[in-house]
């Protein structure tokens, strides 16, 4: 038995025959031609045909995968329309009396090398786009179809990496899985596979040998493993897992679209936690009733200066509009602790979990806070947005926050800027202090959301980042459960709604007791929603 290890980028199990994607990428020989001008015309004709093909691919891809994925073909078109590219091809044809195939190939190499040498990961990847689009022109010039894409049976596709134009030509109903020697979780193959829910393992390196062509393999897209010639026991085990996964999917599908109610008839929402507008696809695919936690940090991370109000407004608006009537709870900036950003110039904390983080930064630097609040209030005019504040420990903090919110509202009103005046304001209950005084806090806000990860770490004094103390982190510790119960009871007494976000919300062994307790909303990773829903509605273990 041979096991190849790579990076699992799209989960799921598959079993089938391995087929290597064959493409002709040998350099094109230089041939001497007698009439350069006729050769340039030949190039022009092929170039225009390629642009037409790309237009068609753009339209087809837009219908299946959406504008974001399809735009790559627009970029390819622009590359073929680029003057530098065309001038280089023409110059090689004229000065060297060379054939168009050779001129295109050499120009492509030259431009792709320029990209490959850049210190930017994204631009480096564009090197493969240049090669890809040039191969298209060469295919038209030579009149050869080039790659062999026709399979009669469903197969597992192997390649060094897959280009957008290649995945677009695949009949995906005949693709069981993708495995590639190169690529990362951000490469085109990975994104394509996840969107279509096809298992994929990338980055297998040199272990992926061409001699495996035609062999039957198992692909585990979650563990990132590929099994060749599996021994009898492994084979049986993988088959069992595949059947179980298939049955489980079918079982969970029955709960799509069904609503959850508590024994006393209250509607309970099962919502999604997301970290960027990119996660919207997963939210829709998993039947979420709303977004219970939208972490706004993505706007602040991985950049060198503060995001502008307009930028934030557009990101929030995009999510709110995509969700329509459904609720979107956006948590204000929660930088600090495990998420550090240089341009905030925060002093190094000895104990970051208890240091300058979350609402403490916002109350210390109200300008940053106000920019975000303005963006949120404005975006709230386009959907059902609620604002949530993290790391609360006292009533005073909440009053200060409300004062700042009132200022923001009156400023927006004075400027005549459209915004939603009645946007709900809520707080995270994630410190033991907040849970203990939740009776007082409940009279100040519109809702609570219990952040069980931090609540557990602070209550048990067990550092989440420290692997050594992990055995002491008891997720169902009575102290944590009592604080949750107390918070829920106080919310109900004050007549405000209360949700749970954090890992415990997806804990199927607790879901029912949370609902019996009086919880109105459970928010979790999109992939857990159907499972939790099944457990609540069906009650049986699966």
């Amino acid at each position: 038995m041979i096991i190849l290890h790579g990076e699992g980028v799209s989960r799921g199990l598959a079993f089938g025959r391995l087929r290597f994607l064959k493409r002709d990428d040998r350099p094109f020989p230089k041939l001497e031609i007698s009439d350069p001008e006729a050769e340039i015309l030949r190039f022009e004709k092929s170039r225009n045909e390629a642009i037409e093909q790309l237009e068609q691919l753009y339209n087809e891809t837009k219908n299946i995968l959406g504008e974001d994925q399809a735009f790559l073909f627009k970029t390819h078109q622009m590359m073929l329309e680029d003057q530098d590219f065309c001038e280089s091809v023409n110059a090689i044809i004229r000065s060297e009396k060379a054939n168009a195939e050779y001129a295109v190939d050499r120009t492509a190499l030259q431009f792709s090398e320029m990209f490959a040498q850049m210190d930017d990961e994204y631009l480096k990847e564009r090197a493969s786009d240049v090669m890809d689009v040039s191969r298209r022109v060469i295919r038209i010039l030579t009149g050869k179809a080039g790659e062999d894409f026709a399979w009669t049976e469903p197969v597992i596709i192997a390649a060094d990496d897959l280009a957008p134009s290649e995945t677009a030509r695949l009949d995906t109903s005949r693709v069981l899985a993708f495995i590639t020697s190169r690529g990362s979780s951000n490469s085109h193959t990975a994104i394509f596979a996840r969107t279509l829910e096809i298992p994929a393992v990338v980055g297998l390196g040199e272990c992926l040998l061409e001699e495996y062509e035609g062999k039957e393999v198992f692909v585990d897209g979650e563990a990132g493993e590929v099994y060749l010639e599996a021994d009898q026991d492994t084979f049986a085990e993988l088959q069992r897992r595949m059947t179980a996964e298939h049955d489980r999917k079918k079982y969970l599908e029955q709960f799509r679209g069904r609503k959850v109610y508590s024994p006393d008839g209250r509607r309970v929402l099962l919502c999604a936690n997301i970290g960027s507008p990119k996660d919207l696809t997963a939210v829709q695919a998993n039947d979420a009733d709303g977004i219970g936690l939208f972490r706004s940090e993505f706007l602040y991370l991985g950049r060198s200066s503060y995001p502008t109000e307009q930028e934030q407004y557009e990101a929030y608006r995009k999510v709110a509009e995509a969700m329509g009537d459904r609720m979107v709870v956006i948590r204000t900036l929660d930088i600090g602790a495990d998420k550090q950003v240089d341009y905030f110039q925060l002093p190094k904390d000895e104990n970051p979990a208890m240091g300058m983080r979350g609402i403490r930064i916002c109350l210390t630097q109200p300008d940053i806070f106000k920019t975000q609040l303005r963006a949120l209030y404005r975006a709230a005019a386009h959907g059902n947005i609620a604002i949530m504040f993290p790391m609360i420990t006292s009533v005073n903090e909440v009053r200060k926050i409300k004062e700042i919110c009132a200022q923001v509202r009156s400023e927006l009103k004075a400027e005549g800027e459209p915004f939603c005046e009645k946007t709900q304001l809520g707080i995270m209950i994630e410190t033991p202090a907040a849970a203990v005084i939740s009776d007082q806090l409940a009279t100040e806000v519109d809702f609570f959301s219990i952040g069980t990860n931090d609540l557990t770490q602070y209550t048990l004094a067990v550092d989440r980042q420290n692997a050594a103390v992990k055995p002491f982190l008891e997720p169902h510790h009575e102290a944590v459960l009592r604080l949750i119960r107390m918070t829920v009871e106080n919310a109900r007494k004050a007549g405000i709604w209360v949700g749970i976000c954090g890992e415990l919300a997806a804990d199927i062994s607790l879901a029912k007791s949370f609902i019996d307790m009086g919880v109105d909303e459970l928010s979790m990773a999109p992939g857990s929603i159907l499972e939790v829903k099944a457990r609540i509605l069906d009650g049986s273990d699966f």
Partner: protein, 98 residues
């Protein structure tokens, strides 16, 4: 003396603006492609300069070759019959896309 002043004056007729890129992804292919398409609508010659390197804003590979990143300040210049219009639209384009 006089003549050189006239020459200086001529240089200054060209319109320009500076912009600091705020998009964490810098000048990536998609918006860069749209930017090039926008620039191509004008007769004027339009240039983008980053540090000592500059490129024709109507040429995609040249623009991407500048490797403009978040935090970089670029100067856009336009010279020609519709330079004012080009400046206005491009300024707006930068503000809403980068």
């Amino acid at each position: 003396m006089r003549l050189s002043k006239v020459n200086e004056g001529e240089v200054m007729i060209m319109k320009e603006f500076q912009y600091t890129i705020k998009d964490p992804n810098g000048l990536h292919a998609r918006p860069a492609g749209l930017l090039v398409k926008e620039a191509q609508k004008y007769q004027s010659s339009v240039k983008i300069t980053k540090g000592e390197k500059s490129a024709d804003l109507k040429r995609l590979f040249a623009v991407m070759g500048l490797n403009v990143k978040c935090g970089d300040t670029v100067t856009i210049t336009a010279d020609g019959p519709d330079e004012d219009q080009a400046m206005n639209t491009l300024k707006e384009f930068f503000m809403s896309n980068f």
